[in-house]
Symmetry: C3
Subunit: 115 residues, 3 copies
Amino acid sequence: MFQRIDVGARMSEAAVHNGTVYLAGQIADDASQDIEGQMRQVLAAIDALLSKAGSDKSRILMAQIFLTDLADFDGMNRVWDAWVVPNHTPCRATVQAALAKPDWKVEIVVTAAVV
Amino acid sequence: MFQRIDVGARMSEAAVHNGTVYLAGQIADDASQDIEGQMRQVLAAIDALLSKAGSDKSRILMAQIFLTDLADFDGMNRVWDAWVVPNHTPCRATVQAALAKPDWKVEIVVTAAVV
Amino acid sequence: MFQRIDVGARMSEAAVHNGTVYLAGQIADDASQDIEGQMRQVLAAIDALLSKAGSDKSRILMAQIFLTDLADFDGMNRVWDAWVVPNHTPCRATVQAALAKPDWKVEIVVTAAVV
């Protein structure tokens, strides 16, 4: 079984293989928002893609978080902590890295188990 | 089933497990070339490793792209867009990060399904 | 089969799914040490988590290494080279990125096959 989701000319937003779904790096559509607003958008995009793949946030294996500015670490965590499912928190790593659009403050790459 | 490919003293170039192949970060052998030349080398290295693993670029799940300088984003994309297989485009994330050799402009980490 | 290991309120340290274990980014508990000391701590943390998951360092598929300062590349490699299992070396990629705590010099994200 191999399925791609939201296939574009440059990239797809998700790929499902062997019971695991891989997501493209998710960013905010409205990059004018602050870190908390962008995080809410990013996590909503992840929720939507996981749903299309037959998974959900309680099944995330690993989340790689790229922050443009580590000064946003606490704001990122406030939204993250409210979003994760207690007792089902993902593995995670956070590093600082500049992103493709200067206004993006956060990008998250998720791998999850398909239910 | 567990197979390593091009095993070195420090790292292997690929590992196949459970229907999925993981590649080491691929960089250009000739780091004197510009972003388009380095991208072509990196993608050729990926093609060669995927072939050894019994996969190919139409089966890539995720590509994590590290660019030394986001000013190379458009040049990177020109080579990428010409390389990907229409309707089988990988998931992707691109961030800026300095790489181990100063002349390297791009490094790509690929995970793919084995055919 | 889906198992989380060392589950916290914000993240888990490991997740096992479908014969593969994903680890959270591992960092040094004692961040006052130099790169070699921090590497030894990080690799010991990885060894411990892999053991809890029923895996070990000879089964690592991919290691993503984030170094705060590429000047530590040689020191990181000295500890890495002494740690890896000959003929079973992991795939690897190393980039420079600032980490969440300023004193952390290295963070490593590992994916491994479960024995």
